[in-house]
């Protein structure tokens, strides 16, 4: 009976197996790396907007509160994109002839909204309610980053499920006094760590927040 396998068959089989294992590992790393990369999460990517609106100027420079424009953030699931007349409250008098603001004036004249490109967007299968987060004292900056330092608005956090769950499973350290919810700089919050830890724990109790239920699927997927 002739030999079925050549002398090197065993080596080839091992090499092929090794290649398969490496390919699977490599594919895993590639996919995982892609999912966490800013290319997929869009963190830090500037989108082209009809008007190069600067939060740095309006929030950081002029000190306008977030709620001046995002008026429904306390009462609705949406923070609210400002209507054109909100822009024109000031820009009917300031920078009236600026070519940069032509789309705003056109929008007011025609009644057609400005076609802003959404930056902080969640997938349609996620339910998110701004009002409850604001009312319980999750500051704007936690999810939207230092918007007062963004000349052009970018996404600051990855908005992945794992990131949401980090807070939902342990909300206490993330809670701040709701009346200061639009404050951007919290660098002094941990100056007295024990007091502030106490604040978080008490807030969780006072608001009846139950972290054990906050990671139920139907909290966010309903």
């Amino acid at each position: 009976m002739p030999q079925i396998f050549t002398a090197s068959a065993d080596t080839r089989l091992r090499a092929a197996l090794l290649l398969v294992v490496l390919a699977v590992l490599g594919a895993g790393l590639l996919v995982g790396g892609y999912m966490d990369s800013s290319y997929a999460t869009l963190v830090g990517w500037v989108r082209h907007q009809p008007v190069p609106f600067s939060h740095e100027h309006h929030v950081g420079g002029l000190g306008i509160d977030c709620r001046y424009c995002h008026t429904t953030v306390e009462v609705s699931k949406h923070a609210g994109l400002p209507a054109t007349h909100v822009c024109m409250t000031c820009h009917s008098q300031v920078w009236t002839g600026a070519p940069m603001l032509a789309p705003v004036r056109d929008s007011l004249a025609s009644g057609r909204p400005i076609a802003w490109q959404r930056v902080a967007r969640l997938p349609d299968y996620v339910y998110f309610n701004h009002a409850i987060h604001v009312a319980r004292g999750v500051p704007c900056v936690t999810c939207h980053g230092r918007i007062d330092r963004m000349p052009l608005t970018v996404r600051a956090k990855p908005f992945q499920m794992g990131w949401c769950l980090e807070c939902h499973r342990n909300p206490a350290p993330h809670l701040r006094p709701p009346e200061q919810v639009t404050r951007m700089d919290w660098s002094d919050w941990n100056r007295r760590p024990e007091e502030h830890r106490l604040y978080g724990d008490l807030a969780v109790k006072a608001y009846g927040i139950e972290p054990s239920k906050l990671d139920d699927c139907n909290i966010c997927h309903r």
Partner: protein
């Protein structure tokens, strides 16, 4: 065994659907090809009356009782909607007038001190001069709260010494002898 195989096929079938990110529905601020103005969020037809309209106008007509909570609410709302122009103390030297917006009058002039609170509510509702209406941004009850807080601001800059308690007078003496 067949069940297991079918279960294995579910992810494949789901992946084939795709587009779970963008489901075929309109969200508030989405673009729409259905309506001529391109908005999925349509304005109610002219003359429509919302269910809460009576409560809305009642809140505008009836002045709420003055109290600490009203003042606190007023202070917060004033800080959000008024202070960019009128500044935190009501002198009208906010950051926006500093950039070229016409300077608003100070709240500490005799005309505004003597006028009724309803004047402020009216200006917030309808606008005044170059000031746009804030009716879409400030709810009726909040307009009264802001008016109440403006009253507090006015008192903060103009109170006869006789109206102060001895304690406050002593403090004042320490600061400005």
């Amino acid at each position: 065994m067949t069940r297991l195989l079918l279960a294995c096929l579910i992810p494949v079938a789901l992946a084939a659907c795709g587009g779970m990110d963008h489901q075929p529905r309109y969200d508030s601020y989405e673009r729409s090809s259905l309506f001529p103005d391109g908005k999925s969020m349509q304005a109610p037809p002219q003359g429509a009356v919302a269910l809460d309209d009576p409560a809305w106008s009642a809140a505008l007509e009836n002045r709420p009782a003055m109290g600490f909570e009203l003042l606190q609410r007023g202070r917060e709302r004033y800080g959000i909607y008024c202070s960019p122009c009128h500044d935190a103390s009501g002198h009208g030297r906010g950051t926006v007038p500093a950039r070229g917006f016409p300077r608003p009058p100070s709240f500490h002039i005799s005309r505004l001190r003597a006028g009724p609170s309803s004047h402020f509510v009216d200006v917030i509702t309808r606008g005044h001069g170059v000031m746009y209406s804030y009716a879409a941004r400030v709810a009726p009850a909040d307009r009264w709260a802001i008016a109440a807080y403006i009253r507090a601001l006015q008192i903060s800059q103009n109170v006869p010494a006789a109206a102060l308690s001895p304690d406050e007078l002593a403090k004042l003496g320490e600061v400005a002898p």
